[in-house]
């Protein structure tokens, strides 16, 4: 654990904090159908055009049921759209650019898994981009969902926040207006600038065919020159939204570890910032909308505490390295370099791993599977908490608010009033929906993992044996149900069983969670807002942060302790105290 690491961590958190307010203020404008932004002169006409095409009246809103139906149908239709593109990619444009290199067959189950994966903002990839996807599949079939699913997440968070802020309201917003405005005002403009920056760092953005290069070192006696085939394509435009929208689906198999996809430490730093940019801004949006900026910052601080804590543990574990390597005479100056890139080193790998799993991003710049046990446990735990540490765009905030509701319900009574959150009484219905959201995640992860680990199809995909193999399965379903998409990537999941069960876990983790949350929004919106007084439950300040973090750790993390004990924890003790290998 080096000084430069601490400085980079401070720099990261500091810049993130500075960006939170401007991003939050901008979101306040965008997420209000009547809001005005500096982009209006350019974008307003496009916005109006979109409404006309869609037939949406931006002056109207939906109740929670209408909102949920719109969201579900849009997800369904766009999912089918992508499934069709993937299955038909050989007939669609640009297939030829990579022809001959697309060695992975696009089977129905792979297409289903991938379509679901991108629709649910998971971006789990049972395939390697460079040898599976045509440019058209990447740019239209997949990248579109990077926008759609991100906008959907933000829209739902906004609906929930509005619901909290409103007083006895029937409606929680207009899904179509939210969808259009988020895409037009936030995602597309930011991505244009961001993608150009990424290109400046060395990321590719072209439509050229895959390029064969005669490499520098040629064996003297062969007639066939040694070549290296370089992947080409519209990468920057896709990577920009993949990070900003916390989607995480890599253009290439190696994802953000690939030198094209993350060329420099600077591009790495900006990519990490872009993951947290919107989720962090949303906490400010929350504070501003509910008129308690301190609450917004308290939520931010809770996230920051969990983020810094997990990152530090992971970094520490990776810095210590692998004792088995040390025994072989390897000096691990930085730490465990297996599966990590030299330009990022230990700290930036550990930091990225935590950011990508705190958020529902899932892009990776190092291979989590090769982390030390405790180093790998932290990303897994981040996901299992529900990706609420900043979290996916929108998804992080609404997930965190579910925890806030549960926290207030458990501890709120202690101030001598029935629980109330920002003046909204938390009653049976709200507890029911919040509990449901938490139940779904835990159950999807644990039940699918249990199924896989006693099934032949489950164990067949393993790349590692012993506790680490268990970790691979646990991570896979955590990632799927949590809509993260990162992996202990040794696990081969491109089989019908894995593809299908993973797709189900992703669907459960996304939609079975979102629907109760929209219902919660509907319930909260309809409630009277009780004025705040000295007797109200304080939702800001150190006590609240401690309470929220404590609840998340006890109610969220401890649930997974038995499973983690059989995976990373026991592996840690085996690695440090024995020479046993698997």
């Amino acid at each position: 654990m080096t000084a430069s690491g601490w400085i980079q961590l401070a720099l990261y958190v500091g810049i993130l904090a500075l960006l939170t307010k401007p991003m939050g203020l901008f979101l306040v404008k965008v997420l209000d159908a009547r809001g005005r932004t500096f982009l209006d002169p350019v974008i307003k006409p496009v916005e109006r055009l979109m409404y006309r095409i869609l037939g949406v009246d931006p002056q109207t809103e939906y109740n929670w049921k209408q909102y949920a139906v719109a969201m579900l149908l849009f997800s369904l239709v766009s999912c089918i759209f992508t499934y069709a593109i993937l299955r038909l990619q050989a007939c669609l444009p640009w297939y030829g650019a990579a022809q001959g290199h697309l060695s992975t067959v696009m089977t129905p189950d792979l297409a289903f898994n991938t379509a679901v994966s991108f629709t649910t903002n998971t971006n789990w990839q049972s395939y390697g981009g460079e040898n599976t996807m045509s440019y058209f599949s990447q740019m239209v079939g997949l990248a579109s969902h990077n926008f759609f699913s991100a906008a959907t997440g933000i829209a739902i968070a906004a609906a929930l926040v509005r619901a909290i802020a409103r007083d006895k309201a029937k409606t929680i917003g207009n899904f179509w207006v939210d969808l259009v405005r988020i895409n037009l005002y936030v995602l597309i403009p930011v991505c244009i600038v961001y993608a150009l920056f990424l290109v400046s760092q060395g990321m590719i953005q072209n439509f050229r065919p895959y390029t064969d290069i005669t490499v520098l070192e040629q064996a003297p006696a062969t007639t066939q020159p040694a070549v290296q085939t370089l992947q080409m394509g519209p990468m920057a435009s896709q990577v920009a939204i993949k990070m900003l929208g916390t989607n995480g689906g890599g253009y290439a198999n190696a994802n953000a570890a690939h030198p094209f996809e993350n060329p420099t430490p600077l591009s790495n730093f900006i990519q990490m910032l872009s993951i947290f940019l919107i989720p962090s801004g949303l906490t400010y949006y929350l504070g501003r909308t509910v008129k308690s900026q301190k609450h917004g910052w308290a939520v931010w601080a809770s996230m920051a505490v969990l983020f810094i804590g997990a990152t530090t543990v992971c970094w520490w574990a990776e810095s210590r390295g692998n004792p088995h390597f040390a025994e072989l005479g390897v000096v691990q100056t930085g730490g465990n370099m297996e599966g990590k890139e030299v330009r990022f080193g230990i700290f930036n790998s550990a930091l990225f791993a935590n950011i990508t799993t705190d958020a529902s991003c899932g892009a990776v710049n190092s291979m989590h599977d090769s982390y030390t046990p405790l180093g790998g446990m932290m990303p897994m735990l981040n996901i299992q908490l529900g990706e609420i540490i900043f979290g996916g765009v929108g998804a992080g905030l609404y997930g965190m608010l579910v925890f806030v509701v549960v926290t207030i319900f458990i501890a709120g009574l202690m101030v001598g009033r029935t629980p109330e959150y920002l003046g909204k009484k938390i009653e049976a219905y709200d507890v029911k929906t919040a509990s449901l959201a938490i139940l779904i995640l835990t159950h999807s992860i644990l039940i699918f993992t249990a199924w896989a680990c006693i099934s032949d199809w489950g164990r067949a995909g393993l790349n590692n044996n012993g506790p680490h193999g268990f970790s691979e399965m646990l991570y896979a379903y955590s990632s799927a149900a949590g809509n993260n998409g990162s992996a202990f990537a040794g696990l081969n999941t491109n089989t019908p069983w894995w593809n299908t069960t993973m797709a189900l876990a992703m669907l459960f983790g996304r939609f079975l969670m979102i629907v109760p949350i929209i219902a919660l929004a509907g319930s909260l919106a309809g409630k009277k807002r009780i004025p705040q007084s000295a007797g109200s439950f304080p939702v800001s300040g150190v006590t609240f942060v401690v309470l929220l973090v404590g609840t998340i750790l006890i109610a969220g993390a401890l649930t997974f302790l038995p499973a983690l004990a059989l995976g990373p924890i026991v592996e840690h003790f085996l690695m440090t105290n024995t020479t046993q290998l698997f």
Partner: protein, 232 residues
């Protein structure tokens, strides 16, 4: 924030708009239209704008940061590592991408820290005496090979990056310590002074970005190109 802005912010209250009567059928239709209309924007207009600007402003990067030798022949991408086994070159890290540095199969080993395969490797021969495709060099083998290639004794400690595989399998860099350990071998093979090589390493070490971000490393393709240039 100015006073006026603050006041305006306070006035911003959450008030609901009128409720629309849109039902399921209507939402289904809107979903289809929205998918297509938005796809045109985010998968058509947007990537093309980026493409146009990128090709205009950063054509080199946008097309893969390709490097040419002095004859103008493309020899690789500055960002993508290549395989070097000849003693006259700096050697990159071991790679798990295909048979090594194959951009068509980027990735790492994905072996866990207690994997027997990762530490000890798998050594199987096929009946005809060739290596079985499942054969795999463990870190133990890589350490031995590195010592052998560079003529190091058994007590010399090997930098971690020299015997571990990167995440992408295409890592263009090696650590400075790794590069320095290779100096005697290259000097011997090329008849150069070790001092010359160390100076070269110094020159081709890419420090942390902005002086703080990331780690220092030596770009293997860059420095090997430089070696080839010096030959003539």
């Amino acid at each position: 924030m100015s006073k006026i802005q603050e006041q305006r912010a306070k006035q911003h209250t959450e008030v609901a708009l009128a409720q629309a009567s849109d039902g399921i059928i209507r939402h289904f239709w809107m979903s289809i239209v929205a998918t297509i209309a938005l796809a045109v924007l985010v998968s058509g207009v947007y990537p093309l704008i980026v493409w146009g600007l990128a090709q205009m402003i950063f054509p080199n990067q946008a097309n893969g940061s390709l490097l040419k030798d002095k004859d103008g022949k493309i020899v690789g991408s500055a960002l993508i590592g290549q395989r070097f086994t000849d003693p006259r070159f700096f050697h990159p890290r071991p790679s798990a991408a295909g048979s090594g540095y194959d951009p068509m199969a980027s990735g790492g080993t994905n072996l866990g820290p207690t994997s027997d395969k990762l530490i000890n490797g798998i050594h199987k021969k096929m009946p005809d005496g060739k290596d079985d495709p499942s054969s795999f060099d463990g870190v133990k083998d890589l350490v031995a090979a590195y010592r052998r290639e560079n003529g190091l004794d058994a007590v010399t400690r090997i930098p971690a990056d020299a015997v571990t595989r990167s995440a992408s399998g295409l890592d263009p860099h090696i650590s400075v310590a790794n590069a320095l350990l290779q100096v005697p071998r290259i000097a011997r093979a090329r008849n150069m002074s070790q001092e010359q090589l160390r100076t070269l390493i110094d020159r081709y070490t890419q420090g942390p970005d902005l002086g703080i971000l990331g780690e220092a490393g030596v770009n293997v393709l860059d420095i090997n190109l430089a070696l080839e240039d010096m030959k003539q």
